[in-house]
Symmetry: C3
Subunit: 367 residues, 3 copies
């Protein structure tokens, strides 16, 4: 642990479902990935069920992810020790494996096209605690996405997504427009979510949304009402409802034929204290059978989210160099600040603490 | 700070003008560069005046160098906080910025084609303290140069340039010749400079100087008198007068038509304790309008100075591995040794100390 | 030193002959190589004799390996200090070098096509302590080999080579076959060597050995008896007698015309605690004049040994991440375990200790 986190053993909740990988990533062979500072290996049993174990063979410490699956066993690619899905040694040529020490297993669920892992107490893991993602189950939605590895604290990405003001600057040529930071932002806690929303009325759609309007069969250059509703939920998911509707038809509430609406999907999985896996994507409710459009959106979105990488990694470098500096918490930052408070409370609760130290020491500038 | 510097917080003076970048480097957009362990951003105001600030947005710690200039403000490329040239927050969409903490500003001067920065006490900064560089202002001189990033203590580069014996070895095929280390070297302190000089009479010019002779309209293969006068001045500049004159015409003092004379220009700007920015170039007094020759010399010099990189970086690796070893200080090293004493005295003076500890513990071998 | 080695200053014996480089590596110019955490430079005198010195010029700490050889002296490529083969400064232009501090010299022997270095006490170095390698001196053998740099503790490579069970998994497509880990393994200490052997009778040869059979003028697809005898000797050499004979002709003891027999040659030279130089090769007793076959075998072997790299480096990463975990020591690991005990005893003996702490704390699982 670095000196940055004095009240926490780790700066993330562990009793939570994180996205580990996409379903496809383990279609062919095991996958090694470090999540929440644990080296894990993911693979499928014959039944297709996904399994997560420590990526550490109890024989000689080799990474199991370099091995292969035989029946329901994960066979170490070094000397052939075969591990079962409960983390126990099952067999090895010429050896009795009964006394071998087990390795950790991590609860996993496959749902919505992703493998979800629970890095903390297995007894507390329950599928019920996985969010319901309507867009992932309904045929009225289409989805495309990707994965980036980013060398910064996962919470900087939460901040990024809970304050879309940055679109005006970082993504000026695609989804940014000056009206974004002119529109006031509203932040509130709704149940176990933090919501930050912003509406822009009677504006021109920026290039990405012109493409979307066209994809939805609407005129590219129409005047529109645009909305952004960022929803944070534990441990580190950000779903952003975004869209444009032809002006005056109700914006967010406009009927389907008058708008191009979608959800920016962000699953942010900590790797180490200063790196994370960023699963991004877009679920949309228009032209859902247009696979070419799906590819086009994925390409555009990949390019846009790539623009954040350098900014976030250099921001991390600055914060690492000047750990003592306090950052400002403005109204536009309220989404990130409230989200971090929710994270801090979850961490404190896991440790049986009353209240996280320092969670409320906001230095909000007047605005 | 590493264990190498027990008496000093930093191994460089801070109340001094260092070259930060060339004028062209900030022509189009802001430039981020770490100088003397500080992350700085350089940009131009509408007036063209250069400004240097900390490369740290007080809002969320983003690097300002990824932003852009609007009127006289440096706008953060993350969320649009616009900083003024005094380091104060000036404006931000939808925010009152009055209470925002300022960031540091660093005095800068643009002169001689470079942006100069003063990392220390702004109150002590004065343009008068910048060296006068005649060659940079006179039409009788032509200049070309470049920039290398080198992973070694900047003082190893000072040593390198204040002892040209190494040319015989490191640059054997271009400017080296055996007569260099056969010629005695004279070192003395002249005012606030350290001078090391060497003369070689009646020698053949090595390849680089044959090219220069030809460029100056003189015979490539003439027998020449060659000179080298290295001048160190604080904080870490080394100007080296070099040249060849047709034999017997007075060498250094020969009339212009009988010689090819130039100044090797070296501005050595610390980045960290084990890395620096090396601005190198050559100012010449012959064929000053021959731009093709300028390019040719730059190319040749760039190749030559590139030969030092591996040596210097591996030397640093050795010194880092064996920090307890004392190096020899021979007569040929006197230029570097005297320069380092001048540096140490400047550092001590900045801290109000009488005398730097250890500045005189030379272990000069007999020679 | 890392926390991994509490009883040892270094995890390798220093009073021993290690392979430093091949004879060819210093044919043209000096070679710098770090061995047992010492930066060394190797070069040849006019006589052809190899010399090893510290790679540290006593003048200014430059790496001598960037210099050149003049007569019997190693001349520093920075300022021309010429060092003699006893580590003493011999001459320098314009300098008296009598008072210069010497640098360390390391005993070296050239034999069997390699330069061998003794990193420890020179007084204890003796050519007699170098192993006799019959295959390297006899015209009845042919040899080909290569060198890999591997980022793991050299003892993980010893483990690797003293337990060939891994061939079944890591090298499944070349030398692995299921019969390997079905065949029992015998480990015993024979004099100052550890032997681990395994025999497989009446098997099909895997692809690499089919090529060898053909090279030896025998049928590729014959049923064969196959053997593997791994011999560890201090400090870290592993010679593996391997081969296949036509079934029923006596296996290892079959007459020459009925078998393809060779020795896998492994010299494992520590660089740092987590990296080593791996000199691998194969000496064979069949078709010794077939240079094309030598190349083919080298290529095949290089590919096979390359398959170990990722496994070993990731194994090191796992062990570094979880330094407290105890590894299993099974019967198949006995070769590595016994070899490490021999190493530990050698280290303890060098320090005048009775017995290495912890050398016998094997946690052997039942098998």
């Amino acid at each position: 642990m670095s000196g940055l986190h004095t009240t926490a053993a780790t700066p993330w909740p562990v009793n939570a479902w994180y996205v580990a990988c996409t379903a496809e990533e383990i279609a062919e062979k095991p996958l090694g990935r470090k999540i929440c500072d644990e080296r894990m290996v993911f693979y499928r049993k014959t039944s297709g069920d996904a399994v997560a174990l420590e990526d550490f063979c109890p024989h000689r410490g080799a990474p199991l992810s370099l091995g292969f699956v035989r029946d329901d066993l994960l066979v170490c690619g070094y000397h052939g020790l075969a591990m079962g899905c409960k983390g126990q040694a099952e067999e090895m040529p010429g050896q009795r494996v009964k006394g071998f020490p087990p390795i950790r297993t991590f609860p996993v669920i496959e749902r919505y096209g992703f493998i979800w892992v629970w890095p903390g107490d297995p007894a507390a893991a329950s599928p019920d605690k996985l969010h319901h993602l309507e867009w992932a189950e309904s045929s009225e939605w289409a989805y495309g996405g990707g994965l980036y590895h980013i060398k910064c604290d996962y919470r900087l990405m939460v901040d990024n997504l809970m304050d879309l003001t940055h679109e005006t600057y970082v993504h000026a040529s695609s989804i940014g427009q000056k009206e974004i930071d002119e529109a006031p932002v509203k932040t509130r806690v709704v149940g176990d979510e933090v919501h930050t929303s912003r509406n822009m009325e009677g504006v021109k759609a920026p290039p990405f949304w012109q493409m979307a309007l066209e994809g939805a069969g609407l005129p590219r250059d129409a005047t529109v009402d645009r909305w952004q509703v960022c929803r944070f939920s534990l441990p580190s998911h950000v779903m952003i409802e975004v869209g444009v509707a032809l002006e005056g038809h109700g914006g967010y509430d406009a009927e389907k034929s008058k708008k191009a609406a979608s959800i920016v999907v962000d699953f942010i999985t900590p790797e180490t204290e200063t790196s994370h896996h960023y699963f991004w994507g877009m679920a949309r409710q228009f032209a859902v059978d247009d696979h070419e459009l799906t590819d086009k959106i994925r390409e555009g979105q990949g390019k846009i989210f790539g623009e954040d990488l350098d900014m976030l990694e250099q921001q991390q470098a600055n914060l690492t160099l000047y750990p003592e500096r306090r950052l400002l918490k403005l109204n536009i930052d309220a989404g990130g600040v409230r989200s971090r408070m929710m994270i801090d409370r979850a961490i404190a609760a896991e440790r049986g603490l009353q209240e996280p130290a320092g969670a409320d020491d906001m230095e909000t500038a007047h605005s």
